[in-house]
Symmetry: D2
Subunit: 330 residues, 4 copies
């Protein structure tokens, strides 16, 4: 993995976490991207909502980016500009960081949730999905933190991306109407969303696990910690999962591998005299000798091997083998 | 996060993934460590069982280390020596990489599972826990891959660490007796273990998710993919989880914050005339003015604030406030 | 289990599912109750939202009650009266049906969700908790089904019980504003709630499992099916779970049972000569003989046995045994 | 649900739990069956492993049967005969109790696990699947409970059904070799199995939930309690799940219902003048009036309605509607 930091603006620093490419992971050559916006009341960027969140999405196959954006004395427009710059940088460097520029999600918490929602309703090029954790969304919460910022619900439009939102109804810092009004606006504009509002839990739960609780039992909640995997399921439904092809394993496959035929491993065929006799009839002696001596090949089935050596195990040979092996079954 | 690679020996390369320390994550200053040993039949080290596995444990709070060990022409003793060197390096650099040298687990897959088990039964200083994924454990599987290596079950002793083992009973490459004999040996020596042998799935599932399946549907299985979190639960039971103190949130806390008293947020007290009158009785006017103007403080309760300003909100003042606020309840 | 049906009114039939009491389940002598209100547009009561839902809560330890209420030509006030009668019957017969009359929850789906919410906001004695599945809550949806009924959000008051609500944002029959307006009303009145609004799924999912899908793949959704266990967690947080006492098992217990001492099973002590010698010193020969011959007792530890035979294994004897057994450890 | 008890033999009593049939649950007309064999050391039949287990499988769609079998003074052959009689009764009454006589599983715990395993290796007609919870399987454990019974591992043969086995490695009453030897025998005979051996937990956990713990915290374990759903997944892989057909909902369906076309609900088409104009062009005025007035129909799409009224909305009409509605999209 490459981890590196870009200075995007005077106030915006973007740390990229880019997984190593590999021929063995070819289907993941282009990953979805997750931009992480920590909270902190626009006063600071909380470490509890930064790298641990990036690691959680990395483990789910995303390449991730943590933005430290303008806080404190800087006007909110600087924070917003940093978010826009991060989205642009990620999409402009899509090839370099192995991501799909049309699968760029943003996750933000608390004030970072406000910034994420602001990007979702008004960035020049919107994120492709939003994940909002106990977000501030209402303009009325600007003055208490000394900021003037946009009211997200009233800016929701038809370009607002699909949104996953979670919060806790026991949060006393950011009242739940920040969530409900944003959801209501999404519903009015027909924007797809999913929402989990949990019963318990104070503000600032992040992943709600002991690893990020910094020692406070109240910051751990097994219900709330489900948001992470639920958000991944949501994003996969929007973006699609890593593509797989072929058939999933079913019980019938297992049974078939245990009965004489093209799916039984060669080493099991060769452990039985009657089955070996069938192989002798259809295959040259030197091929059988080679199969016996190759520690990895001998666990493969004749069907597997036909993919590697189609000239030797062609359709006609396979057909004869199948017929004669099945005949031994009873 | 720091990601860097150490050349431990002529054949052993160790890549370290070390999470950034933070005052906000002080309770995670010393993390458990996970050494990842990919499989590949002692012919190569599979990328599918390397970085993605490290990322999965990083997301659970571990610092992680991936070892590329001696394979191919090298004798097995070189592979083993690389494993020993990795364990030593990690423990010797415990301070530097922020891990607890008595919480060093090893996870290995297939041939990497054999190497992990070998370290568990015969390293000079053993790992503190093992996680074995569809492991080879029997000496009889050396010759098929051109190696001579130890028979792990017959070396299990009282120093063998607690072991988590998973495999699939439909694996045709590494027969399930590799798992059952090792478990039997653990049981005979009273070594604590947990084991999940799943019905379906071919050899080499790694995390059994689409992100590491490299496009093959047969490599994805929702049952098998549970092994990761089950192994984390196992390791936490052995090592202990990240410590938390205080009380978890319960429903009664929620109710209490919604009734006049020391747990109600100040902003809610100040929104009610009768309650504000109680505050006026017990607190100086300038304190109340300060509470009104501080966007973050105003969501705290009097009990929270007493922790920050014990001289102002001392026990006697709190007692009076509680009595008078409770009196307003009905 | 007893299953029986009561005719409560001309239109209301209540089927009770009451688990068998047992001395072995003494701590479940008083169970929470769940009243199930199926949906069906006030035209019928759907079997898909009746017995299968009762079985789901029975399996979680509730005693359950399914109400078939007035539908079709009957005015809505009859439906409501049936709901009130059911709540009354359950509480009046609490002793007979082994439930706690202060832990009576109501779960309703679609139109049944409207009826449940109506009971929650206006029954003479309210339910103790609500579970609403893709509910109708707004009066505007009465006329389309030929009914006139109350607008639930505008009746929310401080007596409204804690509420768990789930729905799907893709429901085209009952628009999501039915959920959002009810949640907003709960928030405004400080009523505790939890809410899960899922991305996908048509109206009428019930448990969202294949067993109740009646053959339609669109009625199965692994995300939505989580609502059942999430609702049970919610209800346990409100009602409390079945009480347990003592300590949960931890890893240290396991280790202690494997080392000579008061927690090692007697059969293991007796399998070792040195440890048997310690027993011989502290216990009469006939007691040791009895322990050897009793197939069940011999797996108990000395500490366990002291609970059964305190006169024989009193504190002084235990202390001596512990000291001498520990001495054998090394 | 029907709950009734049959006296099968002088010592065997079978309690049946049969879910109500319904046209709305037509695809569940034939359910899998679960025969529950409680444990109790062949001294008694434990209530903790009886009805609560039946309820757990009922909630998953099985019809269930609890057998109280010969215990105490009766020889083990009587217990076995009771088990055989129960299997026979269930299959003989398959039509009456709505089960598939080729999907009869048996779950047994402890001594009940021994009885289940005995049926699996030697009943005249075997169960179709086994679920064994912390089972006794070895003949050596007969004498300690005053019985002589068969050694299950040495009787495993090719007719032994697929087996799911769970136990805890910390069980001091029934040593883990009872599990490992049975699994080894299954592996040697190529019988499909799944096995979960958990780290912690005393003997007799049953479902490992608070509801069946009877007040003992040590009998609750969140890891072990997963066995129930894991066993259901296993059984569905063997038996097949309740059949569903058609397509599962995906995100594209949601989007399509929100864009003018055949999948948009009629009420949304009628809320827009341009779209209503399209309907006016293709449908008779009285049909549109009927759609407006029917509270349930108006949420259906034109595609849905075409299934109900194919003569009105035939292929040609649908094609014209689709073309013109799409034209309105932009």
């Amino acid at each position: 993995m490459q981890v590196f930091t870009e200075e995007l603006t005077a106030t915006g620093r973007l740390t990229a976490y880019v997984q190593d490419p590999s021929d063995e992971l070819a289907s993941a050559a282009t990953r979805p991207a997750m931009l992480v916006l920590p909270g902190g009341g626009y006063r600071f960027c909380s470490d509890r909502e930064a790298e641990p969140v990036a690691l959680a999405y990395l483990a789910q196959g995303f390449n991730c980016f943590v933005l430290r954006y303008a806080v404190g004395e800087h006007p909110w427009t600087d924070s917003f500009a940093d978010g826009v710059a991060a989205l642009e940088w990620i999409r402009d460097h899509a090839d370099e960081v192995n991501i799909d520029p049309e699968k760029v999600a943003v996750v933000g918490f608390s004030a970072g949730g406000h910034l994420a929602a602001s990007l979702g309703v008004s960035a020049p090029r919107r994120p492709d999905a939003l994940v909002l954790g106990y977000p501030v969304t209402l303009a009325e919460f600007g003055p208490p933190v000394g900021k003037e910022f946009i009211d997200c619900p009233s800016h929701v439009d038809e370009l607002t991306p699909p949104t996953f939102l979670f919060s806790t109804q026991g949060d006393t810092l950011v009242p739940i109407r920040n969530s409900l009004r944003f959801l209501t606006a999404l519903a009015e504009h027909d924007i797809a969303f999913e929402s989990h509002i949990y019963l318990l839990g104070p503000h600032g739960l992040s992943l709600a696990t002991a690893a990020v609780a910094n020692g406070r039992a109240a910051m751990v909640d097994d219900s709330v910690s489900q948001w992470l995997t639920d958000s991944v399921t949501f994003l996969r439904r929007i973006f699609g999962d890593f593509a797989v092809a072929g058939e999933a394993e079913v019980y019938a496959d297992l049974l078939e591998r245990r009965r004489p035929g093209l799916d039984m491993p060669v080493n099991r065929l060769l452990a039985d005299d009657a089955l070996t006799a069938v192989l002798d009839t259809h295959l040259p002696a030197e091929v059988i000798a080679a199969l016996r001596s190759d520690g990895l090949a001998w666990s493969l089935s004749l069907r597997d091997l036909s993919g590697h050596q189609p000239e030797l195990l062609n359709a006609r040979v396979l057909e004869g083998l199948e017929r004669d092996l099945h005949a031994v079954r009873n």
